[in-house]
Amino acid sequence: MQLLYFGWVRTKIGTSRETLDPPAEITDVRGLVEWLKQRGDGYQEALQDLETIRVAVNQDMADLDAAVTPGDEVALFPPMTGG
């Protein structure tokens, strides 16, 4: 699974992109985020407040209940500030 991080999610986790293999029981975004939080303090800090995390699965906005599968590109980031 391709994981992408942007904004302060990226700076707190310390990388912009990584390829991970979450266990088979991870089937939705919520489960994925909880699993990532176990990976270290940076992940824990970046993802502690789910209210402030936005998610895209395969470049489309998604919510915490969205399904994820091993081949997906999943991005986690703060609220967007374009324009």
């Binding site: 992408l4 942007f6 904004g7 302060w8 990226r10 700076t11 895209a56 470049q59 489309d60 906005m61 991005a75 980031f77 703060p78 609220p79 967007m80 500030t81 374009g82 324009g83």
Partner: protein, 151 residues
């Protein structure tokens, strides 16, 4: 047309490309966003825009289609820069053309309100006190929601 680019753009040339030779255009609405030198009472030395390549273009293409659906538009142009910018630099250009001024002005307003909250860009400001990620503003969410309600 969507352009996501690091380099600056020439407003006059970009707008001319929308109107030159198209005599059905009665009105052109345009918005240009620039980097300000002050934020939260602090002097800004630079603003770096990060974006999500691929998703950005996909999202902007979707919103261009949405604008064309809502208003009778001749043309739509969105140029959004990324990378390191300084105060006074242009960040974004939104321009729409239509036979009628209401359609041009309203769609332009719609597009920039939408970009503020739904285009995958993040802004890192640098000032004397260090680096600071620009926080999303509730007022921007409200402005974008207004168009959802008007749908």
């Amino acid at each position: 047309m969507i352009k996501v680019q690091e380099q600056d753009f020439d407003i006059g040339a970009e707008l001319a490309s929308l109107t030159d030779g198209n005599k059905a255009v009665g009105g052109l609405g345009c918005f240009v966003g620039l980097v300000r030198d002050m934020a939260n009472d602090e002097q800004i030395s630079s603003m770096t825009l990060e974006h999500y390549p691929g998703m950005t273009e996909k999202q902007l293409t979707t919103i261009e289609a949405e604008a064309r659906d809502r208003w009778p538009l001749q043309d739509v142009l969105i140029i959004h820069r990324y990378g390191r910018l300084e105060p006074g630099d242009r960040i974004v250009l939104v321009a729409t053309t239509s036979a009628h001024r209401e359609a041009a002005l309203e769609s332009c307003h719609f597009l920039i309100d939408w970009l503020k909250t739904k285009a995958p860009f993040w802004k890192l400001e640098e000032s004397d006190s260090g680096e600071n990620w620009v926080a999303a503003r509730n007022s921007d969410d409200d402005a974008a929601d207004r168009w959802d309600r008007a749908k």
